[in-house]
Amino acid sequence: MTQLSNSISAPTNQQVSEAIDWLVKLETGDLSAAEQMAFERWQAQSPQHQLAWQRLGRASQPFTQVASLSSIQALQSIEAAEQRLRDKRRSLKTLASFGGLCMTLWLSRDYTGAATAGRYLYGQALADITTAAGEQKSVLLDDGGKLLLNTRSALGIDFNNRPQLELHYGELAISNSGGAQIRAGENLFSPAVGAEFTLSRQDDFCRIQVVTGEVNCVVDGKNELVAAGQKLKRQDNQTLRGTASSTLNLSWRDGFISAERTPLDRFVAQLARYRPGYLTCTAPVGKLTLSGSFPIGNTDLILENLCQILPVRQQRLSRYWVRLVPA
């Protein structure tokens, strides 16, 4: 393991036991002068003795990395993890039979927030195209349609049987549609040839907004035709129709995030999708409103801007943890 061990044979079990006895004596802290000398003699006996002692230095290191945790918290974390592991092993057989399902789903290093991480990663595991926070990808579809996939999205593409896309999570825009259907959970969208629209699927809602042409939607088992300038939203088991009077949900296609007398909490929730880590604002400033367009390429700059135009300031624990609070 170490360079030393290549040239010196490993300490015997006996030598390791002796070294551990000395370590514990030293740590107890009541060594007499005679014992101190005995310890030095022991160490000088052979290179293996020294190696054993040197290795114990590493084996007796304090766990400074977890200094923020008390021993009780550390134990609790470990026990909670072991319980989870037992559950996982128990469900292993059941899950394996589904094939392709990524078991690492809910527990990823790419942790971006309890509310969204699960479904986002779920989609990511199954999808053909995914985007990270702040990333956009454009794709020319086999049917001639132009597709743009927004930040933190996951899309499945199947042109083998009947043309179909599946939006697992996130947001897409299609222009000059060739008619490929899009599934988003239980909802199915069939655009007319040439249609232009955006479709968004988040944890708590699904929304389509049509710019040109029309899209036939099957939502909650019912057919709904959405024409240019209209939008349709499915949320809390309700289907809501509206006119798409503003460009609010469209400007991301040009790289902007827009606000029109938008409450800060809603704006921050939008902005958070473009940024890795945790971003939120406290309740007192959440009701402040703002208007404007901001380039989404640099979310740090947008946060600085917000602090200039609104009476708020940033509380930053790290790049991955930002909260807007009253200035």
């Binding site: 290795r55 945790l69 974390s77 470990i78 394996a96 990524c102 943890w321």
Partner: protein, 170 residues
């Protein structure tokens, strides 16, 4: 490392790595992780002081891979438990990704050390190495003799040494 052994591992790699990756992918359902753990399995093999003579290489490889797979899940479960703990704090803090990884690695190592120790030994080890208490303070807190603390620390340190340096046991 002996040349003969390196050749042996190399041969194992070329004959069985595809099979092992499939084996892992079926269980993990995730091809990237499966590829990572396949590499890790052969690296483990290379690091061993003396590779055993293999009569059924696939059974042997899958035993190592199974251990790595469980470790992989344990790491994720620990990370989740740690994030849950952070979220439950009255003043939630979110350390950077790097800090979190360090904590999770440390917790992983702790879990391995504590596994197999008695609850009392676990408690003593944590009070010493994590809370930084002196043996006398631990004895006072748990109302036991310093001698009992010493004995527990001897057992726990043997365990740590074995994890860090004993490559013979898998």
């Amino acid at each position: 490392m002996q040349l003969a052994q390196r050749t042996l591992v190399h041969n194992l790699y070329s004959s069985h790595q595809g099979w092992l990756r499939d084996w892992l992918r079926k269980r993990l359902g995730c091809s990237e992780t499966a590829a990572d753990l396949t590499q890790d399995t052969f690296i483990r093999l290379l690091l061993k002081d003396n590779a055993p003579q293999l009569e059924s290489p696939r059974a042997y490889l899958s035993t190592i891979a199974k251990g790595l797979m469980i470790n992989h899940w344990r790491r994720q479960a620990l990370e989740q438990a740690y994030l849950d703990l952070l979220a439950a704090q009255p003043e939630p803090l979110l350390p950077s990704l790097e800090e979190r990884q360090l904590v999770v690695e440390a917790l992983l190592q702790l879990a391995e050390i504590l596994d197999g120790l008695t609850p009392r030994d676990q408690q003593i080890f944590l009070l010493a190495r994590l809370d930084g208490l002196k043996y006398q303070e631990i004895a006072d807190q748990l109302n036991i003799t310093v001698n009992s603390v010493q004995k527990a620390m001897v057992r726990a340190t043997h365990k740590v040494y074995q994890i860090l340096y004993d490559t013979a046991v898998e």
